[in-house]
């Protein structure tokens, strides 16, 4: 029996604290961090400390993290360069009566970095920026309707939250039209049907959904979308919140070869510091300035300093290439393991934002068992959501994880 098989974590303190939380916090833990999205009893709920690509939960279990805080961590937890820049800014000023010089520096950096950016605007969360982008599109076009792709996640504002969640009413979606991913014909049909009424089209750069394979854009898809948007005066909005700065420093529009009018960033932009950004073409800048959109902490200077440092560090260290190589190592290793144990594994998504599932396991029963067993051995694998690789993951971490995965796959083989 290998070392990985011997050590199985328990989550008693997580469960105990959760019980306490559930009495005073709706849902105990809410949103995408909710335990309902994993397999309670086999996954940690609360973090005690984190460094590099690892974190320790309140039970003292250490994990190699393949969620990276659901994306924000990209250079490793407690990265000294980023934290150093943040600390230096903190010593000067953070949330004050006026923005700081760092806001202009960060905007300048983004404008120089991203080919389709002539200006930048900042918020706190990805959802702030996707909503802001739809408002800019409406202000620019004087039209009401927004087309989105069925299943794409753009945050929690009512316009993009599916019906069925608490407080969402049918009127919230009155001007939202949905099309299938990669279906240019349907897009064209909807555009024809509502000609002159559509303000914007918003989409993620590729189809990264939960409970399913990640699907890359079909050849010609983005080219076709861009052409139709230009012909019809529709603002093309790229929601690059999840993929931004993990595939390319120039944004996923550049990576996939198209030119969005507006692009939204968050997650990897500041290695965990709270900031998001929307960048856009100069033609939309007047309209953008007319949208009233703000928040108490939106000009805070520490996250801006952290963002600047993160972007520079990503560029200086070749982080994008490293994440691609590390992610490839993990995915190839998992596929090989599956093949060795007679369980075919399908991998999908870019290596830096990968996902895997057992090809035969349509309903994720095996996946839930497998990811539980890997996680309680020390590598956090989310069963339903795409994973994230960081530049702090090293070859040795992947090897350790593959040991956890091998032990887990043996358990799976016994139980199915």
């Amino acid at each position: 029996m290998s070392k990985a098989e011997e050590k199985l974590y328990n989550f008693d303190k997580s469960m105990e604290l959760f019980e306490e939380a559930a009495a005073i916090i709706p849902g105990g833990i809410y949103g995408h961090f909710s335990p309902t999205l994993t397999v309670p009893g086999f996954f940690p709920f609360y973090t005690a400390k984190a460094e590099g690509c690892r974190y320790t939960d309140i039970d003292g279990n250490e994990f190699i993290d393949y969620m990276c805080g659901y994306g924000p961590m990209v250079l490793g937890y407690c990265n000294p360069v980023v934290d150093g820049a943040a600390a230096a800014q903190q010593a000067l000023a953070d949330c004050t009566t006026h923005p700081g010089e760092v806001m202009v520096k960060l905007a300048r950096h983004l404008v120089e970095l991203i080919p389709t950016a002539d200006w930048a605007f900042f918020g706190k969360n990805g959802g702030d920026m996707t909503t802001y982008a739809t408002l800019v599109a409406r202000a620019f076009t004087n039209r009401k309707k927004i087309i989105m792709v069925r299943g794409h996640y753009h945050g929690v504002a009512p316009w993009c939250t599916p019906p069925g969640f608490g407080g969402i009413i049918p009127e919230d979606h009155m001007h939202i039209l949905q099309v299938a991913w990669n279906d240019l014909d349907e897009f064209e049909k909807v555009v024809r049907q509502y000609r002159g009424e559509i303000a914007g089209f918003i989409a993620q750069p590729y189809h990264h959904i939960n409970f399913g394979d990640q699907v890359m854009p079909a050849p010609g898809y983005w080219e076709g979308i861009e052409r139709i948007c230009r012909e019809e005066g529709i603002v093309l909005i790229l929601d690059d919140v999840r993929a931004g700065f993990r595939l390319s420093m120039k944004g996923s529009g550049d990576y996939f070869g198209f030119k969005p009018d507006l692009s939204c960033y968050c997650k990897a932009i500041a290695n965990g510091y709270p900031i998001s950004a929307c960048v856009g073409r100069k033609e939309l800048m007047n309209a953008a300035s007319k949208v009233f959109f703000t928040g108490s902490y939106w000009t805070a200077q520490v996250p801006m300093a952290a963002a600047l440092a993160t972007l520079q560090e990503l560029e200086n260290t070749g982080a994008i290439e490293k994440m691609k190589e590390t992610g490839t190592l993990l995915m190839e290793g998992l596929k090989e393991l599956g093949s060795r144990y007679g369980l075919e594994i399908t991998t999908s998504g870019p290596p830096a934002i990968p996902f895997m599932r057992f090809t035969e396991d349509r309903d994720f029963f095996w996946q839930q068992l497998f990811c539980s067993e890997v996680t309680r051995r020390g590598s956090f694998f989310h069963p339903h959501h795409n994973w994230f690789i960081s530049a702090a993951h090293e070859k040795e971490d992947i090897e350790e994880t593959l040991n956890h995965a091998e032990a887990a796959i043996k358990v799976l083989k016994e139980k199915i």
Partner: protein, 258 residues
């Protein structure tokens, strides 16, 4: 409650609640005794014929059939949904008019109210009813079935939830209580097919740790997200199916809360 909602509630009474008399008749000696000699079919229908449910009494057993029923059963016709709901909720002393076949069963029809009253005895039980463990287990079981049948009526007929239903993936959800009863619901193209008992090949499983957790969930006395986190409710398989059904359960609770 607007007209659409009143109609959904009427469908719930006929499609989700009335069929539970099958279970109540098999369990409850009071009902068993009342229907012992009954051998006839009794149709409950809204004026116009939709919805309708027919109860066939035979050898002390009850079998429920939804929709059109062949033959010429004794029939109680309700003039509108509001009236049907008032009758089922005990808000009126007026009765629906029977057809000619019903008039020939006048003696039995006079007892129908008390038989139907036993449904409420188990679906809206008093604390003393729940104190008996066996009866409590039965209450949970029939409520589980009511939920499965009720989701169908709400999902197929409530315009408020149609946008949710249209986005629901096809598949079968099994709802079960650990070491207890189960029901399942197959969803196909926006239509629902509920059944008592476990599913052969469920795509998703919603499992309650025990009867009390199930009961508390059905009564709306539990934060279900917290219950999942603490392991009292387990979700397995293709969870989007359960996530899709969950708001329908909430909507069902809204209708049945009165």
């Amino acid at each position: 409650m607007n007209r659409d909602q009143s109609m959904v509630l009427a469908r719930l009474h006929l499609g989700a609640i009335l069929p539970l008399l099958e279970d109540v008749a098999a369990y409850d000696p009071v009902v068993g005794e009342a229907i012992a000699g009954w051998n006839f079919a009794l149709q409950f229908r809204l004026s116009g014929g939709d919805p309708s449910t027919t109860l066939v009494f035979e050898e002390g057993r009850v079998t429920a059939y939804r929709g059109q029923f062949k033959g010429y059963p004794a029939t109680l016709t309700f003039k509108n949904a509001d009236f049907l709901n008032d009758v089922f909720q005990g808000r009126t002393k007026k009765s629906p008019l029977p057809n000619l076949a019903g008039i020939f069963k006048a003696k039995q029809l006079m007892q129908v109210d008390s038989v139907l009253g036993r449904l409420e005895h188990y679906l809206k039980p008093q604390p003393e009813t729940l104190a008996d463990p066996e009866t409590f287990a039965f209450c949970v079981r029939v409520t589980l079935y009511a939920v499965a049948f009720g989701i169908k009526e709400v999902g197929e007929h409530d315009p408020e939830v149609r946008p949710i239903v249209l986005n629901l993936p096809d598949g079968t959800v099994e709802m079960r209580i650990e070491q207890g009863p189960a029901a399942h619901l197959t969803i196909k193209g926006g239509s629902f097919y509920p059944q008592r008992g476990p599913a052969e090949n469920p795509n998703a499983i919603l499992e309650f740790a025990d009867l009390q957790t199930a009961w508390d969930t059905f009564q709306g006395n539990i934060d279900t997200f917290s219950a999942v986190g603490s392991g009292r409710i387990k979700l397995r398989g293709f969870i989007p199916l359960i996530e899709g059904v969950n708001p329908l359960m909430d909507r069902l609770a809204y209708y049945l809360s009165d």
